[in-house]
């Protein structure tokens, strides 16, 4: 009787331990997987951040360029025009490119519509209100544009 009892206990103990091993193995695997994923992502992030390290500072500089360009439009000074063009050369050398929008079809991935104007054309950019810029493949600032629209909704 005592022997039986002991044996049952041992079986239970084995079962418990087996469960525990399974549980721990799962947790260990999960931790390992999380770690490996983290490692992969860290590598990706480092590559990315090296690629786009200039991005933040460039984004901060763009409004300054906007202002200079607006000033140039009003003052029409040659010196200022030269300053702007050398500013743009620096941006270009860093891989910054202007998003071309005029006359194109509206594309919300690189443009933001600010105003709509009735016209015979549908969804065409008729004015660039604030230029957009791309750094490599990535749009770092969308262009703000005025878009043409055929009035077609019956209820309007």
């Amino acid at each position: 009787m005592i022997f039986m009892l002991k044996k049952t206990d041992t079986n239970k103990e084995i079962a418990d331990l087996k469960n525990q091993i399974e549980d721990l193995t799962n947790k260990w695997k999960r931790a390992l997987a999380d770690y490996q994923n983290l490692e992969k992502r860290t590598v990706a992030r480092i590559t990315d951040s090296a690629k786009y390290s200039a991005e933040n500072i460039i984004i901060k500089l763009l409004p300054v360029l906007d202002t200079l360009e607006q000033a140039e439009k009003h003052i029409k000074d040659q010196g200022l025009a030269l300053a702007i063009s050398s500013f743009k050369d620096v941006l270009k050398s860093e891989g910054v490119e202007k998003v071309e929008v005029l006359g194109k079809k509206f594309e919300p991935r690189e443009m933001e519509a600010i105003e709509v104007q009735a016209s015979d054309k549908e969804d065409e950019v008729i004015e660039e209100l604030r230029p957009g810029y791309r750094l490599g493949e990535k749009v770092i600032r969308v262009a703000q544009v005025k878009v043409s629209k055929k009035i077609k909704y019956k209820e309007e």
């Binding site: 799962n26 997987a33 994923n37 607006q70 919300p108 519509a113 969804d123 878009v147």
Partner: protein, 636 residues
């Protein structure tokens, strides 16, 4: 093992988080943002920022605030009211439910929400690098059964099995781990982009139950932005006679500037608003140049903030509870970053609200915690501890040399080789220290032991490896071993992480307070150690060289040694450093003399040319060089 993601499907913005390595992490969208605007163009099937950008050209096909229609009948009073200001078409669909009509097609709010969820799912999958098929989604506490059902359906349409619909305030409480802290009664103050919610929760049977909820469905950050914008536009009109609100381009710039100023004023007392060439006046271009102070902003939005108090009072009344019975207050929503909002809430409850978790992310984080509970990841998660303070040993001159720096996740181990400080030293004392201060005496000694039986040798030669090992339970084992004899000794310290929070804080603060004087003290001791070592090398070199050096050189070196010895205990750091380098220069003459005597035997490094290192290895090598030189000598 598949992950369950936690989703905050919001009226204005949505956010997603997942448990990773035992802690919740917010997943950024493909556009690199932590939240996604809850905006959808169901015809073009674009979601988020991209959809938001085309809202002006397609006002009737860009759907936002769809959450306001979720699971509601077309005839609902709230739907009828929202119809007045929402620019898209709302109709009565099957069973009288509210649906939207876009380009001749009808979409249920579930379908629109599903598009947001699909984008979230795609972003999460690209982040995790695996398929995601299960989610926990949060809803406002006041959502009824039909609204919850609709939310669940939205998940299913998006290909997500909704494992749990969780109340937003409960999620916020989970994110702060309030259930673990056994906070019984919790108030959640949620001031988001377009809605205000206040809820009172009570902990029962390990889960939070919503006792009462109240709010204002049309009060949020957007109203704050509008007040600021109107203020700026009015000021400008007064000065220049031009209404910027009539110029859509100027309005857009002003809107961006108003939001930016609002955010800036949460951390600074004054914000500059510069919008050059904002519009064209009669006499050329006009510029908007102004400042907005925090106090001005607070006076502008004071009414809006006060509007939140009545619902809070009503909510407490419904919960049949007084405000002094609230154990914890949790702040949710970007607007709670405004210091004035925090202050008003704090004053009302007479208690500091919780706000350490990003208020835009806190609900999604709580959803992820709930998801973690469902996968078993959170239930008895291995909470990996960190060492709260730096652990190290005492070295020559009473300096504390760190081995394991603070905030290192345990289990961990680290070893380093040390040597003796004196000739023929046969034992070393290992004093185990805890603390951030550079001097041993200022740190806490956790224990000490002696490793003896080191064979007699010149100082710096014996190699004693000291290993620190902290196991998962925070128990520290320190092991010291003499590499030559293999003799070892160890100590086991169980209280390495057992300090109370206050003690840790005190020790850390002390370290900060004494940082500069400590560094000075340490620098001085390091200079003294170097000087001491230089004296040792000089005396040894003189002895080794015997009469191969001229009496002049010998005298010079002896004098310099004496000069350095005189200031060793009392001299300033600068004094010690100059005298050490003086001695080092003179010492080179011994080397030169020896090589001259030796003839052209080989390009051995003359001793003393490099400043001697404290490391055992380097020194040993140099001594060997010297020995060679002595053996090869030719007596002239």
């Amino acid at each position: 093992m598949a992950k369950i993601i936690g989703i905050d499907l919001g009226t204005t913005n949505s956010c997603v988080a997942v448990m990773e390595g035992g802690s919740p992490k917010v997943i950024h969208s493909a556009e690199g943002r932590n939240v996604i605007p809850s905006v959808v163009d169901p015809i073009k099937r674009v979601v988020g920022d991209v959809a938001k950008r085309q809202i002006v050209i397609n006002p009737k096909s860009t759907i936002f605030s769809i959450k306001r229609l979720m699971g509601r009948k077309f005839n609902d009073k709230s739907v009828q009211q929202d119809m007045k200001w929402l620019p898209y078409t709302i109709k009565s669909g099957r069973d009288g439910m509210a649906v939207v009509e876009v380009g001749g097609k009808t979409f249920t709010p579930q379908e629109i929400s599903a598009m947001i969820l699909q984008k979230i799912k795609a972003d999460a999958e690209s982040y995790l690098g695996e398929k995601v098929s299960e989610a926990v989604i949060t809803v406002p506490a006041y959502f009824d059964d039909s609204q919850r059902q609709a939310t669940k359906q939205a998940g299913e349409i998006a290909g997500l099995e909704v494992k749990r619909i969780l109340n937003e305030p409960t999620a916020a409480a989970l994110a702060y781990g309030l259930d673990k802290k056994h906070a019984h009664t919790v108030a959640v103050y949620d001031l988001g982009g377009g809605t205000f919610d206040i809820s009172v929760l009570e902990l029962g049977e390990g889960v939070y139950e919503v006792k009462a909820t109240n709010g204002d469905t049309h009060l949020g950050g957007d109203d704050f932005d509008k007040v600021i914008l109107d203020h700026l536009a009015d000021e400008f009109k007064k000065e220049n006679g031009v209404d910027l609100r009539k110029d859509s381009q100027a309005l857009q710039r002003l809107r961006d500037a108003a939001e930016k100023a609002k955010i800036e004023l949460s951390t600074s007392l004054e914000a500059d608003i510069n919008l050059p060439f904002i519009t064209q006046g009669k006499e050329g271009p006009l510029h908007l140049v102004t400042k907005l102070s925090r106090s001005k902003l607070e006076s502008l939005v004071g009414d809006l903030i006060d509007k939140t108090i009545a619902p809070v009072e009503a909510c407490l009344k419904d919960a049949k509870i007084t405000k002094d019975k609230i154990d914890e207050i949790v702040m949710v929503g970007g607007m709670t970053r405004m210091p004035k909002v925090f202050e008003v809430v704090k004053n009302f409850f007479g208690k500091e609200p919780n706000r350490s978790v990003n208020p835009d992310e806190v609900v999604a984080i709580g959803a992820a915690v709930q998801a973690g509970v469902l996968t078993g990841e959170v239930k008895d998660v291995v909470l990996l501890d960190v060492t709260p303070l730096t652990l190290g040993v005492e070295t020559l001159g009473g300096v504390s040399t760190p081995l394991i720096t603070r905030n290192t996740t345990v289990p961990t181990s680290k070893s380093e080789v040390f040597s003796t400080a004196a000739d023929n030293q046969t034992s070393v004392e290992i004093n185990v220290l805890q603390g951030e201060r550079p001097m041993a005496a200022d740190n806490k000694s956790l224990g000490r032991f002696i490793l003896s039986g080191i064979p007699p040798a010149p100082r710096g030669v014996p190699q004693v490896e000291v290993m620190f090992d902290i196991d998962a339970n925070g128990i520290l084992n320190v092991h010291a071993k003499d590499k030559a004899t293999g003799k070892s000794q160890s100590i086991r310290i169980t209280s390495s992480t057992g300090l109370s929070k206050d003690e840790i804080e005190k020790m850390t603060k002390e370290a900060e307070a004494h940082a500069s004087e400590d560094t000075e003290k340490k620098d001085k001791i390091e200079a003294r150690n170097k000087a001491d070592n230089m004296i040792y090398v000089a005396e040894k070199s003189l002895k080794d060289a015997g009469d191969k050096v001229s009496a002049d050189v010998k005298k010079e070196v002896e004098e310099k040694v004496k000069a350095l010895k005189d200031v060793l205990e009392t001299g300033s750091k600068e004094d010690l450093e100059t005298k050490t380098s003086d001695l080092s220069n003179s010492l080179q003459k011994i080397g030169q003399a020896m090589y001259q005597g030796q003839g052209q035997q080989g390009p051995n490094t003359p001793p003393g040319q490099e400043p001697p290192k404290e490391e055992g290895n380097g020194e040993k090598k140099k001594k060997d060089d010297k020995k060679e030189a002595v053996e090869g000598e030719v007596v002239s």
